[in-house]
């Protein structure tokens, strides 16, 4: 009887300890920043969570990007929420897009920009000595900055072709006012990751890619 009592007490203590550790260990957080949207698509879709306390798990189907799609551009906006109690940086890596045919969809054919950094839920740490910096060349809306190159192909100031390994796209000072142990509906920042594809005479086929957004301690800038 006494042994059982000790066992239950120990297990309870261990579980509570584990909870406390897992809840306070994370000083940096990345999550859904809201419902993603898609425009200009034919047969495409985007799925993600509108709840900013959910993980960032987004599936984008650009749909048809041959000339069968008569829209000038397919545009996807993915809001991404960030929380931190220290300076941070956001990096992005891409994998899986490796068409050997140069006329097929390439990483450089998918425009990628960072836009519209704003407070999450209207609340977050407002620093006066440092700003949130979108790293060059990603500070643009690829839907409005796309141009046609000398070879006739649409080009972007920044695209997935600018991602080499894990590429830092954003950095800045502390994001959150409170040192909450779990995700809040507010108290952080949101940015829009903008992706575009301009329908073209790409070589026929199906292409896919996976992007990983990660947040880590950034340069020690003052708040």
């Amino acid at each position: 009887m006494r042994l059982r009592l000790v066992t239950y007490s120990s297990l309870t203590a261990l579980i509570l300890l584990a909870l406390a550790q897992s809840a306070s260990a994370q000083a940096l957080d990345i999550s859904s920043g809201g419902l993603p949207t898609i425009t200009g698509t034919v047969g495409g879709s985007v799925t993600g969570s509108s709840d900013v306390t959910n993980d960032l798990v987004v599936t984008v189907n650009f749909g048809e990007v041959s000339p069968l799609n008569t829209n000038s551009i397919v545009k996807v906006i993915v809001p991404v929420a960030l929380r931190s109690n220290q300076p941070y940086q956001v990096a992005v890596s891409v994998s899986g897009l490796n068409n050997a045919n140069p006329q097929a969809l390439q990483a450089s054919d998918i425009g990628f920009g960072i836009q519209n950094i704003r407070l999450l839920g209207g609340a977050g740490k407002i620093c006066t000595q440092s700003t949130h910096v979108v790293q060059s060349p990603f500070n643009n809306d690829p839907a409005t900055s796309a141009t046609v190159g000398s070879n006739g192909r649409v080009t972007y100031p920044s695209s997935l072709g600018n991602l080499f390994g894990s590429t830092i796209v954003l950095s800045g000072p502390i994001l959150s006012k409170n040192n909450s142990s779990k995700r809040q509906q507010s108290d952080g920042y949101v940015f829009d990751a903008v992706f575009t594809v301009s329908p073209q005479f790409f070589a026929a086929g199906v292409s896919s890619a996976t992007l990983i957004f990660s947040i880590s301690p950034g340069p020690n800038v003052p708040c």
Partner: protein, 231 residues
Amino acid sequence: MPLHTNKLILLTALLLFPALTCVAQSTSGTVSMSATVSKFVEINSGGSVTLTGNSGGGVTTDGVNNSPLAVSINLGELGPSNTNSFVTAQVPLKLRSNAAYVLSMSATVTSSGTSASRIGAADVGFGLGTISRTGVGVASGSDTNATSGDPTLAANGSVNGTTGRYEFTAVRSNLSAFSSATTALSGPIIMNAVPRSNANGLSVPAFFAVKPQFFENGTTTISVTFTVTAP
């Protein structure tokens, strides 16, 4: 501490665990992407029709570059009162594709005449001219012209020594070879990865020709349909 109290604490902790972990923080997230490029081919007008050697007649509905192909031509008089050697209509075509293509054609010729001297499909010469792949965004490639080219060329027809009737004798040089959909041209991918707004493409003229002769009098209607596919 009573045993049932311990159980209660443990149970509460176990229930609380998933509730807390569902809002636990994470340092990474994923965006998965996919896109589809289907085979695409199109045929449009390559520009204005050129009608020569006609007596009367004219281009009723002209071609407009990069617009859907829908031209209408009145070849005019095809009896001996037209003293030109041929009445020829040159119809520019423009093809574009992101895959290998096949251009086929089918034609029907109907005449109000009833005798063997009425205008028939074999009396309407046909051929595709010089194929041009030029301009930004157009891929290089070697195309196969299944016709014999301009049907008015001396090598493509002559007067039948027995009947005296002029005949288009070369391979696929008249519309009788196209009574059903028949390949006229084929080749590899035409366009590089450029937007549809790029106006370039593969250009080729389609020649139609009739030699004015002592045909049975009457009216004749020639209907031609071009179809491009990506097999």
